[in-house]
C-alpha cells in the first residue's frame, strides 16, 4: 500500500482537523498531534480524515475525538496535561551526575567510549578533594532526586575514591536532604568479596557490559591474561544471588548489563539475546556504536550502515517478543522507552527527549575537576575538543555551570520544534537528538537530522514498533504494555540521614 496523496489533493479539506503529522507505517497511516496522541488508520480511514468526511457517531470519529484530532472538539486541558507530562522534568534540574573517578582501565575495548588510560597512569585518578568539591556542587542541584554514577576508566581501579565520595556525599546530604542514589558502571574484573560487601551494604546499584556470547565479548573487550566475559558473568550471577539472599525481589533487583553493537554483533542477534536470558538478565539495551572514544580510530572495524543495525534490531526484538510469548520475561530498553512515550508515560530518558538532558538533566565531573555537559562532551575533551567544558569544581558555581552559554545553545539546538525535518516528523513528540553527536558529525550542535545516524536509528525503531502495534495482535500489545511498566527500585535509595 502506498499513500496516494496527489490523488487525494483535490479533495483535501483542512478545516476540520486539529494540527497533525502523518506517516505511512506498514499497511496503515500513523497520525500524531503536537502533544503526542496518536492513531493508526487504514488508508480509507485516513482518506476520510484528510477529506473531512468522517461521520460523527462512528467509531472512527470517536477514536479521533478521544485523541484530540478534531478542531471542533479539541480539548486544550487534555493537551496541556499530556504536554506537561513530557515537559515537567525540564523544571527540575540535573538529576544524573557522572563522577569519573579515574581514566585508568584494565580492559581495552575496540569501541572504548571512555578514552581510557593505562593502569600506570595514576595521575588520572580523581583526588579526594576533587571528589568532595564535585559532590558539593552536585548537592546544589535543585532536583530533589540525585543519582551519582561512578564511571571510569574502570571505577574499581580507584575504589578508595569511590568509598570516600560515598561517605562524603552521605555526610553532606544530612543537610542537603536529597533522595540520593549511587550507581557504578564496572567491567567487574577487579571485583572481590570485600568490595562487593561494601557496595551491597551501601546500596550501590551495579551495571556492567556484556556484549553477547563469550567469543564476541572477548573479541572486542580485551582483559590481559583472562576472559573479560567470564569475569563479568561470574560476578553478575554472584551479585544476583546476593540480592536474593538479602530478600530482595529477584524480578526487580538484578545487575543491569549494557551492550555496544559492533559490526561483529549484527549476525549474532539470537546468541546475544540468549546470552542475556541465560544470565538471568531481564533487559537488553541494543545500542549502536557512537562516534566517540576510540570508535573514530577503529571505525573500519566496528562501524556499519544503520539499515544493517535496524535489521539486527528487528530480528532481536521479534525474537524477544517470541520468548515473551513463551513466558520468558526479557525486554529491549529502546523499545520500552519509546513505548512508554507512545502510551503517555514519558520516562525522561535524557538522550531521548526534547530538549535533551545534557547540562540541564545531567553533568559529568571529570577526574581532574573539569565539568562537562555530559559524558560524550567529556569524551570529546579527551579527544582534544573542549567545546562542552562548562567549568571547574574549584572555580565555578553550580549556577555558572548550568547557565553556561554552551548549555543554552544545546537546549535550543536539541529542541525538535526548532529543527528542520523534526518539525514535520510524525515522531517529533517522542524523539530526541544529541548535540554532542551533531557537533562531532556535522560541526554544529544542530546537525542535520536527515543525514544523522541517530535519526535513522530512532526513526527505524519507531517505525518497527508502530508496525507491530498496527497488526493489533492482543498478545503483542499486552507484552508491549508490560514493557512500559516501571517499578521503582527503592532499595537503592540511600536511607534518610537527617
Amino acid at each position: 500500500m502506498n499513500l496516494q496523496l496527489p490523488a487525494l489533493a483535490p479533495r483535501l479539506d483542512v478545516t476540520t482537523q486539529a494540527f497533525f503529522r502523518f506517516r505511512q507505517v506498514g499497511k496503515k497511516v500513523l497520525i500524531t498531534n503536537y502533544e503526542g496522541f496518536w492513531a493508526l488508520l487504514t488508508p480509507e480511514e485516513f482518506e476520510r480524515y484528510a477529506t473531512g468526511t468522517v461521520q460523527p457517531g462512528t467509531p472512527l470519529h470517536q477514536r479521533l475525538t478521544d485523541n484530540n484530532f478534531f478542531k471542533a472538539t479539541y480539548d486544550t486541558r487534555k493537551a496541556a496535561d499530556r504536554l506537561w507530562q513530557r515537559r515537567q522534568a525540564l523544571t527540575q534540574g540535573p538529576n544524573l551526575h557522572l563522577l569519573i573517578v579515574t581514566l585508568r582501565c584494565n580492559e581495552s575495548c575496540v569501541y572504548c567510549h571512555a578514552s581510557r588510560a593505562g593502569m600506570d597512569q595514576v595521575e588520572t585518578d580523581m583526588s579526594r578533594e576533587t571528589a568532595e568539591r564535585s559532590i558539593d556542587l552536585i548537592l546544589q542541584s535543585p532536583n530533589p532526586n540525585l543519582t551519582i554514577e561512578f564511571q571510569g576508566g574502570e571505577p574499581l581501579v580507584a575504589f578508595d575514591v569511590v568509598k570516600h565520595a560515598i561517605a562524603y556525599a552521605n555526610e553532606k546530604n544530612k543537610t542537603a536532604g536529597k533522595q540520593l542514589e549511587f550507581t557504578m558502571v564496572t567491567n567487574m574484573s577487579l571485583m572481590d568479596e570485600e568490595k562487593l560487601e561494601y557496595l551491597l551494604a551501601n546500596r550501590v546499584q551495579l551495571c556492567t557490559s556484556v556484549d553477547g556470547p563469550e567469543h564476541l565479548h572477548d573479541g572486542q573487550r580485551k582483559l590481559p591474561g583472562a576472559s573479560a566475559h567470564m569475569a563479568a558473568t561470574k560476578w553478575i550471577k554472584r551479585i544476583n544471588q546476593a540480592y536474593a539472599d538479602r530478600g530482595l525481589d529477584p524480578t526487580l533487583y538484578r545487575v543491569e548489563a549494557l551492550l555496544t553493537t559492533t559490526r561483529d554483533s549484527l549476525p549474532l542477534w539470537k546468541e546475544i539475546v540468549d546470552t542475556y536470558v541465560d544470565l538471568g538478565c531481564r533487559a537488553l539495551f541494543l545500542r549502536p556504536v557512537d562516534p566517540f572514544g576510540w570508535v573514530d580510530k577503529t571505525a573500519r572495524r566496528v562501524e556499519y550502515p544503520r539499515e544493517d543495525f535496524l535489521e539486527y534490531y528487528r530480528n532481536a526484538v521479534d525474537y524477544m517478543v517470541e520468548l515473551n510469548l513463551k513466558g520468558v520475561q526479557v525486554l529491549e530498553r529502546y523499545a520500552a522507552i519509546f513505548l512508554s512515550k507512545f502510551f503517555g508515560n514519558d520516562p525522561n530518558f535524557l538522550d531521548l527527549r526534547s530538549p535533551a538532558g545534557a547540562g540541564i538533566g545531567c553533568l559529568a565531573f571529570n577526574y581532574d575537576g573539569k565539568v562537562f555537559t555530559c559524558d560524550e562532551g567529556r569524551m570529546l575533551h579527551e579527544m582534544g575538543d573542549s567545546s562542552f567544558l562548562l567549568g571547574n569544581v574549584t572555580g565555578s558555581s553550580f549556577k555558572d555551570i548550568v547557565s553556561h552559554p554552551t548549555v543554552r545553545s544545546m537546549v535550543l539546538a536539541s529542541n525538535l520544534d526548532g529543527q528542520p525535518d523534526c518539525i514535520n516528523c510524525t515522531y517529533n513528540p517522542y524523539c530526541g537528538t544529541q548535540s554532542t553527536h551533531n557537533h562531532k558529525k556535522f560541526g554544529s550542535v544542530f546537525g542535520r537530522a536527515r543525514e544523522s545516524t541517530i535519526c535513522a536509528v530512532h526513526k527505524g525503531i519507531q517505525d518497527y514498533l508502530f508496525e507491530r502495534i498496527s497488526t493489533d495482535d492482543p498478545k503483542v500489545l499486552d507484552i508491549f504494555q508490560k514493557w512500559t511498566t516501571s517499578r521503582p527500585r527503592t532499595h537503592f535509595l540511600q536511607p534518610p540521614t537527617a
Binding site: G93, P142, I360, S403, G443, F446, R448
Partner: protein, 161 residues
Amino acid sequence: MNHTITTQLSNGTATFSVDPSLYPLDALYGAAYIFIDRCFVFLDKDEAGRVVVSLSPKKGPADEPTLQSWAGEFGNELLSCAWRHQISAQNRQVLEQVTSLALAGAMGPPSLDDLSNFDFSSQPLEDPLGIAMSWEEKYKKKTPAAAAGTPAVAAPEAVKP
C-alpha cells in the same frame, strides 16, 4: 540552466556562487562557519550580486572528491540553516519559553547566597509617573509646602479637593 548554486573545482579550490534572494545572509554565515575547521572559507560578491563562496584546503592540495564533498555538504548545510532560520522565526515563542523553563529549572530558585550577593545599594529606578507608588502615597492630600514641589506630571485632578 540557471543553478542556484554553481560549483567550480579549480586550483584546488571549490567555488560556488549562491543566489542571495533564496538564502538569508544569516544562513550563509551559519553554513560557512561550520567549515572553518576543515578549510579556509572566503565570502565575496560578484557583479551580478551573487554571493561567491570559496573553500580551499588549509594544508596541501585537496583532491577532487574532497572538494566535491565540501561543496555538496555546504549546499546541504546551507539549506538546513535557511530552513532552521525560518522555523526559529516562526516558533520563536515556544522555543524561548521551553529554553527559559529548562534553564530556570536547572538553576533552581535564588539561594540565600544569591540574595546576599545582590547589590541593594544601587538607586531605585526612576519613576516619574509614580507607577511604583501606592495609591495613598500618590494621591494623598499634600501640605501646601509639599504641593509646591508636586511634579508637573502628577495627575492634576487627583490633588483637587
